[in-house]
Symmetry: C2
Subunit: 329 residues, 2 copies
DNA sequence: CCGGCACATGTTATCGATCACATCGCGTTG
DNA sequence: CAACGCGATGTGATCGATAACATGTGCCGG
């Protein structure tokens, strides 16, 4: 920086002002400094800046399992949005979302003096951890507990589930079965809720929830059971992988989809269009979630006060070939 | 740090020594300092450390599209390994792997004074970018050009492809067709090579490569064509998503898998076991790749010299239900 | 009994930026 | 026309760590 200052014939402070877009610098001086910067190929040392300001241009993300399509997409979208705003993203994966793990991951980010933190906290157990976090750091939660008063961005799970269920009812099915995700996930309980709402709103019998986790394996097991029940003609699966398992179980038992059984998924993974048959599903807009999260976080960083705003993104129904009227009609 | 020093009754330098595990500190002093640290909840300021040492405890990763299962798994595995070694990972996604984008992503990491960089560079176009990078920064390439003299970790694509092809030949098929990935990917050309080698080694006719990209959509298109050709009884798909598309095309045309046509994929995505039928595929060990990459990078960081070592990970055949002897037998 | 040499510890400079305050012109105003 | 204010710029302190060198102790061998 001193070299740049010397070459431009100004003081280091003026260089700093140019760098930070400070207004009180003469146009001509600004240009001389700019020229010197590019001539020397100078690049500011972020560590020095972080040292004196106490904040870095880094955002930390705490996620659980970014191998899954949803979280991975979210991460990429967020990283992209952050890069456009001049921020770098530092990822801290944890294997379990309990208090201890989240706490440690957050601590680690604080060590690095990140400017803000995003926690993808879709499960109950993450809640407790979030309660015990230092309150003065900008923090936004994605897919966290809707009932917690905190900065939160969520996909409207219930609305998506309602759409899916209504779509099946509208096709003529007398009721819709639901294979759910693990019930400590908010995503999962929200979907169950939306499904139940749509059924009761239609004045239709609510069958018992078929519990599963998010894997194709558990969808397959649930599917084996449902395939044996002739009264089951419509199934709403809590995600696309479950749906895949269900499709296979149905196919093995000779129940055709969609002629005998209709299936709707959730997530719209890229392969969903190439399942057998192509899967009708609900698509959450991860880009929108990422953008909203970033905007909220930057707002907190600029204002200096963690605020408990909230943003909900409505998902969208994608119609393909896995739904048809029930066989009897 | 000064506070800690005061509380422990030593100088800040001694605190620094304790922190960095310097040997010449008396046991008793070390304990006093430790006690003071935990009593005050002191945490070292990484920015200050980075400023004075010129290196941060951050590793940068440049990847193209970490939404895909392979790259996402790699990223998570690497992040995990890095965390164990006390490093944080900063991700820089780029949309295209051309010289400009990679250059910019790398620059951005250098700005942050990362200790080392990993570039996941599976395509030809990344090569040029890598040539023009500053040579003095520790850098390891994953899935890069095997013919370039650089620090490189790769999955042995050719070996995996050979295994897959041989497995199909051993089942009794007279030859094996191949639906390939985009041919500017090294992964793709490696798999083509291995497939071709296995066929010629068996003294068997080599059918033309069916070109595709990595998507289920293009696999479906390729599958539609192959399904119309009765002489096709065995297909090796360059990845599992292609295989999924092929499975659907076959099913639509009434060709049963594996009775009429056998299919093998590559990657072992988690859902592969729940395709219809469960897919026989090749599993690359992403964890091993991540570990090898980290070890190589840390080696370079410690020695201070970028070295052109190389490490190849052999993938593994996972047998499921998508392969059977040809119908004629 | 003293020089020397490890080991334990302290002192001061340094990294590269920003911040707070000082200074210098120069046009405006009463 | 002197005082003032403000825009443009410079000066020195500062953030929190490590590096290099200095100092103080105790033990050993000659």
């Amino acid at each position: 920086m001193t070299d740049v200052a010397r070459l431009a014939g100004v003081s280091h402070q003026t260089v700093s002002r140019v760098l930070n877009g400070h207004p009180n610098v003469r146009e001509q001086t600004r240009n001389r400094v700019r020229a010197a910067i590019s001539e020397l190929g100078y690049r500011p040392n972020r560590a020095a800046k972080a040292l004196v300001t106490g904040r870095s241009q880094v955002l930390g993300v705490v996620a659980q399992n970014s191998t899954l399509y949803g979280p991975a997409s979210l991460l990429v979208a967020f990283e992209h949005a952050a890069a456009e705003a001049g921020f770098t993203v530092s990822v801290g994966n944890v294997s379990v979302l309990d208090r201890h793990s989240i706490g440690r991951a957050v601590e680690q980010h604080l060590d690095q003096r990140v400017a803000g933190i995003v926690v993808i906290a879709p499960v109950e157990s993450a809640n407790e951890a979030l309660e015990h976090l230092p309150a003065d750091v900008p923090l936004v939660t994605i897919d966290g507990d809707p009932s917690r008063p905190a900065a939160l961005v969520t996909v409207d799970q219930a609305a998506g589930a309602r759409d899916a269920t209504k779509f099946l009812l509208d096709a003529g099915h007398s009721t819709v079965w639901h294979v759910s995700g693990p019930n400590d996930w908010f995503d999962s309980t929200g979907r169950v809720q939306g499904w139940r709402d749509a059924l009761t709103a239609a004045g239709v019998e609510v069958p018992p929830v078929v519990p599963a986790d998010w894997t194709a394996a558990s969808g397959y097991r649930a599917g084996q059971m449902l395939a044996r029940m002739p009264e089951v003609t419509a199934v709403f699966a809590a995600n696309d992988h479950l749906a895949l398992g269900i499709l296979r179980a149905m196919s093995e038992r000779g129940r055709r989809v969609p002629e005998d059984v209709s299936v709707v998924g959730f997530d719209d993974v890229p392969e969903a269009a190439y399942f057998i048959p192509p899967l009708t599903t609900i698509r959450p807009d991860f880009e929108a979630v990422a953008r909203a999260t970033l905007a909220m976080l930057l707002g907190q960083i600029e204002s200096g006060t963690p605020t408990a705003t909230r943003h909900t993104i409505a998902p969208e129904l994608v119609v393909r070939d896995s739904v048809a009227p029930p066989a009897g009609r």
